[in-house]
């Protein structure tokens, strides 16, 4: 039976709690958002001890369903002031259900920096003084030495300890690379609770109970087959998400020079195609790396230098877009080094990338200065004024520097898709309760669908549809890439629903995915409204409406009326 593990940090006590009817059969984002909406006072400061920090495994986590081990981290966000869920790969979410835990709920705050160890015996509270101030990589190394290499480690770096608004939460992959639940400042919430790390050890644990194993096996096999047959998988496997660099550049939507233009003339030097050429020559580079057990795609990578030393894993499109083209940095090795520094310090590469571009625009450093950017990121660790500014993300940086061109919604930076050319994605940025976020509803065109991303018409419907779908997928713990084929093939959605039905021992409604997505979005919306958000918060910054994006000349012209329709379920 799956339970909540409530940890009271004030009292150093814990309780395994049967899932109440409000939470039963939920997982991932749905569970995290429902808990926050019901249990966190919406107007409380995000760093107040009354905020709760949730780590929720998806509904399918711990089973053999492919790519189903995303971990949802949720809380009220110090970056947006609203509800937040950020998810990451790694192996933590696969271990929790085997310990009978659907979600961990951290309540209160510890009186000293603490590591929590969760295993079959329960929870141990361990003094973390020895790892105070360490980066994520050394923290992981030290904890691995202490607890063995079969565990999963969730941790924060110095940015989380300093409670900076762009601080993320690191989750280890099976081979102990860092994956980040990067967005929304959730690392700062963990820091405010005085928790440095959580070690999850599922030794001697049980298999997840599946009510109808036969049906589950069949539905899962059909889903896996469908995913592997989808043509997109070939590109993801060969080149990973950096394959998007040339494509989004070709669309004229690659953020360049703080979202001034949509094409970067040196895009090839930071592209997936170029990375693949380098990686083929470099010792120890690994394409098609898998961030979690049970992944059948392998979109990640281990990126090494010419000598074969690891620079970072994985180097992804969003980082390349925000730290690379958006800062006019064309050196892929330097982007990888900045990525490593961000992971180690424990900050979101996207918000920090957007902040770096603003600092460049304000002449704190020169546009395109890769060494200067790396040095500035390292100042976050040192706690200089500029370092703290950057570590608080693009909104704080832009406000501090008096910028009129801050690419954010609800305080969170946009992702690496310019909304003037991709208006469905722009509509999702504007209207999501999460702040500007691409994974909530990224509307990338496919010429077979006749969907026109540059027209203002129909974007509200497109965004609404995608937001509902992805809210459900995030609740199941399925990685976005495994979920995309099911957008084109309804029978694959049927296999997902059948698998969950077999897991739970129930016949689920045909529109289960839609119902789950809508219920989750409604809870998130309700929390934000109670926290004081209005429809005026569902807007993109003015400059996207006024400055034409070259070379297409597009502006973001989805009407406010249409934006207000997105959440009218």
């Amino acid at each position: 039976m799956q339970r909540l593990l409530r940890i009271d940090l004030n009292k150093k006590s814990f309780l395994f709690e049967e899932l109440s009817p409000k939470y039963v059969k939920l997982g991932g984002r749905a569970l995290s958002s429902q808990i926050i909406n019901r249990e966190v006072p919406p107007t409380v400061d995000a760093l107040d001890s009354r905020n709760k920090l949730i780590f929720a495994a998806g509904i399918l986590a711990g089973t053999s369903f492919p790519n189903s081990g995303r971990l949802s981290v949720g809380a009220k966000s110090p970056l947006t002031g609203g509800i937040k869920e950020a998810n990451a790969g790694g192996n933590a979410a696969q271990k929790l259900p085997k310990l009978g835990v659907q979600a961990i709920v951290l309540e209160g705050h510890a009186d000293q920096l603490t590591t929590l160890k969760i295993d079959n015996a329960g929870v141990s509270f361990i003094d973390a003084a020895a790892i105070k101030g360490l980066g994520n990589y050394q923290t992981i190394e030290d904890l691995k030495q202490e607890h063995g290499d079969k565990v999963s480690i969730i941790s924060i770096g110095p940015a989380g300890e300093k409670k900076l608004k762009a601080a993320g939460v690191s989750v280890t992959s099976p081979d102990f690379h860092v994956r980040m639940a990067a967005r929304g400042g959730l690392g700062a919430v963990m820091g405010s609770k005085n928790v440095k790390a959580i070690v999850i050890d599922d030794t001697d644990s049980q298999k997840v109970e599946i009510m109808d194993r036969e049906i589950f096996k069949k539905a899962t096999a059909k889903f896996t087959k469908g995913v592997l047959a989808y043509p997109m998988i070939e590109g993801l496997n060969a080149l990973g998400t950096p394959v998007l660099v040339n494509m989004i550049n070709g669309m004229g939507c690659l953020p360049t020079r703080n979202y001034s233009v949509g094409q970067f003339d040196r895009a090839h030097q930071i592209s997936g195609e170029y990375m693949a050429e380098l990686m083929a020559k470099r010792p120890n580079s690994v394409p098609a790396h898998k961030c979690m057990a049970g992944c059948v795609i392998g979109c990640s990578n281990i990126f090494t230098n010419e000598k074969g030393d690891v620079i970072v894993s994985g180097l992804e499109y969003e980082t390349i877009g925000l730290v690379g083209s958006n800062c006019m940095i064309d050196d892929i090795d330097m982007i990888a080094k900045i990525n490593w520094a961000c992971n180690d310090i424990g900050v979101d590469t996207m918000d920090v990338g957007a902040a770096l571009a603003l600092a460049m625009e304000a002449d704190i450093l020169k546009m395109g200065d890769a060494n200067g950017a790396l040095a500035l990121v390292n100042e976050i660790r040192q706690g200089t004024d500029n370092g703290l500014m950057i570590g608080n993300g693009c909104k704080v940086t832009g406000d501090t520097l008096g910028s009129k061109r801050i690419p954010h919604v609800k305080g969170q930076s946009l992702a690496a898709y310019d909304p003037r050319g991709l208006k469905g994605t722009g509509t999702s940025y504007a209207t999501s309760s999460m702040g500007a976020d691409h994974t909530v509803g990224n509307a990338i065109p496919n010429p077979l669908s006749q969907y026109d991303p540059s027209s203002p018409d129909g974007q509200a419907e497109m965004s609404s549809f995608l937001q509902i779908y992805h809210a459900a997928i995030d609740s199941m713990g399925i990685c976005l890439f495994a979920s995309l084929p099911a957008l084109d093939f309804a029978d694959l959605q049927g296999h997902i629903v059948q698998s969950i039905g077999a897991l739970l021992g129930e016949t689920l409604d045909e529109d289960y995915i839609k119902q789950l997505g809508i219920a989750t979005l409604k809870a998130e919306r309700e929390f934000n409204i109670n926290a004081g958000f209005t429809k005026e918060d569902d807007r993109l910054p003015q400059f996207f409406k006024k400055e034409p994006l070259l070379p297409s000349g597009n502006v973001f012209d989805v009407s406010d009326d249409d934006l207000d329709k997105v959440n009218a379920f």
């Binding site: 989808y230 043509p231 997109m232 070939e234 590109g235 993801l236 060969a238 080149l239 998400t241 394959v243 998007l244 040339n246 494509m247 989004i248 070709g250 669309m251 004229g252 997936g272 195609e273 499109y317 992702a415 898709y417 050319g421 994605t425 691409h438 994974t439 990224n442 990338i444 065109p445 496919n446 010429p447 077979l448 006749q450 026109d452 991303p453 540059s454 976005l480 890439f481 995309l484 070379p551 297409s552 597009n554």
Partner: protein, 81 residues
């Protein structure tokens, strides 16, 4: 009347055309008003493998008529995340 086009292939598409040169792309002669779909047929690349077609500035459709000296870029089917 014939027109001249340069075709660029990105992602894994280049591996489907023998001796494709990344730097130069493919220089082709084609009939007037040829479409991206026609070009893909000639290259024997299924439409289902294409995520996006660009004229070098923005997205175009499979049935967009192409004009002389255009650069046409084809990208593997992929979506963002």
């Amino acid at each position: 009347m014939a027109i001249q086009l340069t075709i660029h292939l990105f992602g894994t598409l280049s591996s489907k055309v023998p001796n494709y040169d990344h730097k130069k792309g493919l220089l082709v002669d084609a009939p007037d008003a040829v479409t991206p779909e026609d070009l893909l047929k000639d290259l024997k690349i299924p439409l289902t493998h294409i995520g996006f077609v660009s004229d070098g500035r923005q997205a175009i459709q499979f049935d967009t008529p192409l004009t002389d000296k255009m650069n046409v870029s084809f990208f593997s089917l992929i979506s963002g995340g």
